[in-house]
C-alpha cells in the first residue's frame, strides 16, 4: 500500500472529525424525550451497562441527557458563531476600507466590547432578554466577533496595498467590484477558520452561562444545567454526574478545535512550511 501524503492524511482526518461531530449532533437531535424521562426506581445509580453515565437524582439517564444537551449546545454555538463571524467580517471590512473616523470608531467599539468581561456582558444581555435561549444566543453572538474582526481588518489593510488591487483601481474598477472580486475571495478561508475556531468558545460560554443559571431553563437538558445540578450532589458522592458530562463536553470542544486547526492547514497556503 502506498503511503498517503500529508495533505491527504489531513484531509481524511478532517473528514472523520467532521463526521463524528455530525453524528453526535444528529444523534442528540433524534433522541426522543422518553430516553431521559425521570424514573424514581432508578435514581442516583452509578454507571452500569444499562446506564453508561449513571443516572441523576431524578433517575434520568445521564448519557442521553448529556447527548441531548450537547446537541442543544452545538446548535447555540453554531448559530451564535455564524452571526458573530458575519459581524466580524462586516466590521473588519468597514474598518479597513472606511474613512479614518469609521476606523477609529470601530476600533473603539471593539475596545468597548472587549472592555467588559464576556461572562458579565452575556449575563447582562441574558437578563435584558428575560433569560432563555434567545438572550443566550444574542449574548454570545454579540461578544465573540472582536478578535476575528481585528484579524480581518488587518488582512484587508494588507490586501489593499497589493499591486493587483492598485492596478485594478487604475483600470477603473469600482470599489464594490474590487471588494467582491479581490478582497472577499481572500477572506473566505479566514471566515471559515475563524468560524470553526470561534465555535468551541461559544459552546464553552453557553455551558458556563447555563451553569450560572442564566440561559436555558432548568428542565432543558443542557451541559451547564446538568453540571450545576451535579454540584448539589458532589458531597453525597455522586461523582459520575459531574465527571462524565464534562468529559464529553471537553472531548467535543477539543474535536472542534482540532478540526479548525486542520481546516486552517488545508486552506492556508503558508502553513505548508510548518
Amino acid at each position: 500500500m502506498k503511503k498517503l501524503n500529508r495533505r491527504t492524511k489531513v484531509l481524511l482526518l478532517t473528514a472523520v472529525m467532521a463526521l463524528v461531530l455530525i453524528a453526535v449532533y444528529a444523534f442528540g437531535l433524534l433522541i426522543p424525550e422518553e430516553a431521559y424521562a425521570s424514573s424514581f426506581l432508578q435514581a442516583k445509580q452509578p454507571p452500569s451497562f444499562a446506564h453508561p453515565f449513571g443516572t441523576d437524582s431524578l433517575g434520568r439517564d445521564l448519557l442521553m441527557r448529556t447527548l441531548k444537551g450537547l446537541s442543544v449546545s452545538m446548535t447555540v454555538g453554531l448559530v451564535a458563531s455564524v452571526i458573530s463571524a458575519v459581524i466580524a467580517v462586516l466590521v473588519g471590512i468597514a474598518a479597513a476600507t472606511g474613512s479614518k473616523y469609521v476606523d477609529a470608531f470601530l476600533n473603539w467599539l471593539i475596545d468597548l466590547v472587549m472592555g467588559v468581561p464576556h461572562t458579565i456582558l452575556v449575563i447582562l444581555i441574558s437578563f435584558a432578554m428575560g433569560r432563555g435561549l434567545k438572550g443566550l444566543l444574542i449574548g454570545i453572538a454579540a461578544t465573540h466577533w472582536c478578535s476575528l474582526a481585528r484579524l480581518i481588518r488587518g488582512e484587508v489593510l494588507q490586501l489593499r496595498n497589493q499591486q493587483y488591487v492598485a492596478v485594478s483601481r487604475r483600470l477603473g474598477k469600482s470599489s464594490g467590484w474590487i471588494l467582491c472580486n479581490h478582497l472577499l475571495p481572500h477572506l473566505v478561508p479566514q471566515f471559515f477558520v475563524g468560524l470553526v475556531l470561534m465555535f468551541p468558545h461559544a459552546i464553552l460560554h453557553e455551558a458556563s452561562v447555563s451553569f450560572l443559571g442564566y440561559g436555558l431553563p432548568p428542565e432543558q437538558p443542557a451541559i451547564g444545567i446538568i453540571l450545576s445540578e451535579s454540584m448539589r450532589y458532589l458531597s453525597a458522592g455522586m461523582w459520575w454526574t459531574a465527571v462524565f458530562p464534562g468529559l464529553l463536553l471537553v472531548a467535543i470542544v477539543l474535536l472542534v478545535d482540532r478540526l479548525g486547526d486542520h481546516l486552517r492547514r488545508i486552506l492556508d497556503p503558508y502553513s505548508a512550511q510548518e
Binding site: 458579565i120 453540571l227 458532589l234
Partner: protein, 331 residues
C-alpha cells in the same frame, strides 16, 4: 528629555479620555439593557418585601423610584448620583452597592491576584521550558497540555478539583472564604489561604496556557536570532543564553499580555467563585442577575469594566513606554 515628559503626558491624556469614554458607553449600554429587561423591578422589590401591598402603596414606590419618568432623565439622575459616590442600594442584600462592591472586591482581589501571579509564573516558566526544548518531548507534551486546558471549562475543572481534593481526599474545604461558625475577626490568615487555594489554582490553570504558548513563540524567535547564534559561538550554554538574551526579550511581552488578560481573569473568577461559593464580586453578580437586583448588577458591570480598562491601560503603557523598540516606532 523634554520629549519623554511630553509623550508621557500625552499618553496619559489619551488613555484617560479613552477610558472615560468607554466607561460612559458601558454605563449607557448597561442601563439600556437593564431597562429593556421584561422583569419588573418594582414587582421584584414587592416580592422581596414578603407582604402584600395596596395599589396606592405601589404607586408610592413607583413615584419614589421614578419608574415612570422618561429613560433619559432616569439615566442622567442615576449617573449624577453615581458620580457623587451613591451607587444605589442593593435590593438583594439591603445595603449600599458601593459597600458590597468594596467588601467583595477585597475577596475577589485576593483570589484574582493569587491566580494572576500563579498563572503568570507557571505560564512563563513552562513557556521558557517549551521554547528551550522546542520540538522535543517536553515541548510536545506541554503544548498538548496547554491546548487541552484551554478547552476545559473553568467551572468543570473547579468541580473536578472539589470532587478530588475536597470530597475524596479532604485536603481543602468545600467552599466559602472562611470556616463556618467562626467569627469574622478570628479567622486566621492561614485559614483564609486554605480556603483560597483551590479556587485560585482553578482560576490560574485556566489562563496559564495563553501566556505559556505566547512565551514559547517569543523565545523561539529569540533563540533563532543571529545574536543568539553568535552567543553560542562564543561558548555560552543554554542557561546563559536564556538568562542574558532570552528572558530580557521575553519577559516584557509576557507581563504585558498578563495585564491585558484582566477581562478573562474577571470572567473566570465569576465561574470559579460560583463553584466554590466564594463570596466575591463574581458570585454577587450572578446572584444579582438571578434575583433582578438591578443596582448591584449595574454597579458590578461598571466596576468590572473599570478593572479591565485599568489592566489594558497598564498593558498599553508598558508596551509603549518600556519597550525601546516600540518607543522608537511611536515617535
Amino acid at each position: 528629555m523634554k520629549g519623554t515628559a511630553g509623550r508621557l503626558i500625552r499618553t496619559f491624556l489619551f488613555h484617560g479620555i479613552k477610558i472615560v469614554s468607554l466607561l460612559l458607553a458601558v454605563s449607557i449600554i448597561a442601563f439600556v439593557l437593564v431597562s429593556a429587561s421584561p422583569i419588573d423591578p418594582v414587582q421584584q422589590y414587592i416580592l422581596g418585601l414578603g407582604t402584600a401591598i395596596s395599589p396606592e402603596q405601589r404607586a408610592e414606590i413607583e413615584a419614589y423610584w421614578g419608574v415612570n419618568e422618561p429613560p433619559v432623565e432616569r439615566y442622567l439622575s442615576w449617573l449624577s448620583e453615581l458620580l457623587r459616590g451613591n451607587w444605589g442600594e442593593s435590593a438583594l442584600y439591603r445595603r449600599p452597592v458601593a459597600d458590597i462592591i468594596g467588601e467583595r472586591f477585597a475577596n475577589s482581589l485576593a483570589l484574582m491576584l493569587c491566580a494572576w501571579l500563579l498563572s503568570g509564573v507557571i505560564g512563563f516558566a513552562l513557556g521558557c521550558v517549551m521554547g528551550v526544548f522546542r520540538d522535543r518531548w517536553p515541548d510536545s507534551i506541554l503544548k498538548k497540555l496547554c491546548y487541552l486546558l484551554s478547552s476545559v471549562p473553568t467551572f468543570w475543572l473547579g468541580l473536578l478539583f472539589l470532587l478530588i481534593f475536597s470530597v475524596w481526599l479532604g485536603w481543602f474545604p468545600i467552599g466559602f472564604s472562611a470556616p463556618i461558625g467562626v467569627a469574622q475577626g478570628s479567622v486566621t490568615l492561614g485559614q483564609r489561604l486554605h480556603h483560597l487555594a483551590l479556587p485560585a489554582i482553578t482560576l490560574s490553570l485556566m489562563s496559564f496556557a495563553n501566556i505559556a504558548l505566547h512565551t514559547r513563540q517569543k523565545l523561539i524567535d529569540v533563540l533563532n536570532s543571529e545574536y543568539v547564534l553568535f552567543a553560542r559561538a562564543r561558548g555560552e550554554g543554554t542557561w546563559t543564553v536564556l538568562r542574558r538574551h532570552g528572558l530580557r526579550n521575553v519577559l516584557l511581552p509576557a507581563v504585558t499580555l498578563q495585564f491585558a488578560s484582566f477581562a478573562e481573569l474577571f470572567g473566570g473568577s465569576v465561574l470559579a467563585e460560583n463553584v466554590f461559593s466564594y463570596p466575591g464580586l463574581g458570585s454577587a453578580v450572578a446572584a444579582a442577575g438571578l434575583n433582578s437586583d438591578v443596582p448591584l448588577l449595574l454597579g458590578v458591570t461598571l466596576f468590572s469594566a473599570l478593572f479591565v480598562c485599568v489592566g489594558n491601560m497598564i498593558a498599553n503603557l508598558l508596551y509603549g513606554l518600556v519597550d525601546p523598540q516600540i518607543r522608537e516606532v511611536g515617535k
